[in-house]
Symmetry: C2
Subunit: 336 residues, 2 copies
């Protein structure tokens, strides 16, 4: 069987099962491991706080094209996608290791620009870049590993496994902005400069929601993740992990007016399955969500509710309360 | 300038300088960072012991060819090269994150075999595989990140920066074995089965010297690294980092008789610059080295001495005491 037949998530399930079978409770590491495969970060018991670790990769021709993103933004983004996973646990990033594959013809000044982008974001977030690896490769890839800690003495963090029926579903910021930016870049659309700059920035220069992630944990939220693959796909992961269903209302999804102005009806599709927004998706009791909304300097919007019915499924209601079917749920690396 | 002109090590120097310029002593992470770029692992102050982290990568067509190595051995080796760096610090591995890039046509059962190899070695070394990332990619790459701790309450570890004139230079095991194995596999040499099996195994299934690494620290050795690029190249790193020279004697380099039988005079070249042996290279006062040799179940051989003269350089003496020039020093990813 080809991985293209099984799909990325089927392949992850296969590997996750193998890892679970290899679990060795005699070994110190396994005994102290709180969350391995299946959540945004690995979490294990540290000596005083819980440590977090995450690896994510940007591959040329798969995640990025240098026609669309500059080397410096590529560096920023390669770290940002990892920090977003630390944010999605409510954690604090500490250290980053950078592994790069580069073709021989790569310009040194491009690598310098790449590192500028990485170090810029690292500096802003208190992350120490502690080295890594540089290797030859026929295509460019940047694989960053971030190690962090939970931001509270009790070691609490956000998980995908704790959503309960009656929880409200909320998101930070706006959705579909990155997809809109990618669309403008890819098809070189002629769009008013101020609008196009805002949308492109969302795609090439995403800001991990670290402050918001910590606030969520502080205020008592237990369930959360970041939106990297797309809202429907990622909310589906929470539903599957928690054994619950979800109903979201199209009209409540926060979409920037700049997206609607350019893309009209297509904006909904971008918000539902565009991915790469790196906003936080979380659920909690209505009063806890309200506490977060009041305390946050950054927008947080309720978009729906967790249900006991339709376990593992995400239902979308349009403005007339009818079920809405998105064209695609999100991104899969291997399936067409 | 192309990276092929600057070379891998020049590129690492460039990046290391940028990272050093970005150091922020106000930030918790940087303040607690003991070793960043420039040694085998990153080391930072943990709460009770020092934590270690390392990332290393295997890229198809660069580090491996599936004509030569099986998927299962590839998995083993991808983790082994990282554990070897933990060994080279005298540390204990704890957690591994695996990031893979795979073409769409990859067979699922091959990925299963790959993970078998990874989990086999992980199990033998008490390493918990805590997840990672799977991505689409035009070429296969396996990027593993290992996090570990120093194996002693004082947090001591082996570094490249502490070699002193008068130190003896020693290595564990044998050198050139992996290069001999690769040569047999690549050129499909017809060699007696028992010999060929032993040599091929050294290349496809290297064993990280974790026990020996810890023993070195325990017995008082301060300077050490693993031999991945080749003896001359790696010893050169110790010389440059410590500001010393090195003289080694060709006749004292431990080479398996199986290598000499098949490759004759060429064995020396393999031992000096073949690389991928993943043995440990270390220096120390003669009495400390002797203590290690007596205590170790695994061979350790003195091959030369650290000098104050010829700082940064490795001098090789042949059996007649004349200077010997190796054809190549070792591996560089970008230089021809």
């Amino acid at each position: 069987m080809k991985v293209s037949e099984l799909g990325q998530f089927g392949l992850i399930d296969t590997v996750a099962k193998m890892i679970e079978d290899a679990r060795d409770n005699q070994a110190y590491s396994w005994r102290n491991l709180l969350t391995g495969v299946g959540d945004d970060c690995a979490v294990w018991r540290g000596d005083a706080s819980n440590q977090l670790a995450k690896v994510d990769c940007q591959v040329q021709g798969v995640h990025f094209s240098l026609d669309i993103i500059s080397w410096e933004d590529l560096g920023w983004k390669s770290l940002a996608v990892n920090l977003s996973d630390i944010a999605s646990m409510g954690g604090i990033p500490r250290y980053a290791l950078v592994s790069m594959g580069l073709p021989r013809e790569t310009e040194v000044e491009d690598v310098v620009s790449l590192y500028k982008g990485i170090l810029n974001l690292a500096g802003l977030t208190g992350t120490a870049v502690t080295g890594g690896n540089i290797s030859g490769s026929p295509v460019i890839f940047i694989d960053i590993n971030v190690i962090g800690v939970t931001g509270n003495p009790e070691g609490k963090y956000l998980s995908r496994f704790s959503a309960r029926p009656g929880d409200k579903i909320a998101v930070t910021g706006w959705l579909g902005t990155a997809a809109a930016g990618l669309n403008i870049l890819k098809h070189q659309l002629e769009v008013e400069e101020s609008i196009s700059a805002c949308l492109k920035k969302a795609f090439v220069h995403p800001e991990p929601r670290l402050t918001e992630g910590r606030l969520l944990v502080e205020k008592g939220i237990q369930t959360g993740m970041d939106i990297s693959d797309g809202l429907v796909s990622d909310l589906g992961h929470i539903c599957q992990s928690s054994g619950v269903g979800a109903v979201i209302e199209l009209a409540r999804i926060p979409i920037r007016p700049e997206v609607t102005v350019v893309f009209g009806e297509k904006s909904y599709q971008m918000a539902l399955s565009g991915g790469e927004d790196y906003q936080l998706l979380f659920t909690g009791r209505p009063e806890v969500i309200e506490r977060v909304r009041v305390a946050s300097d950054y927008p947080a919007t309720v978009i729906g509710e967790i249900t006991a019915e339709n376990s593992g499924e995400v239902t979308i209601l349009d403005t007339e309360g009818r079920s809405f079917q998105p064209e695609t749920a999100g991104w899969d690396h291997f399936k067409k």
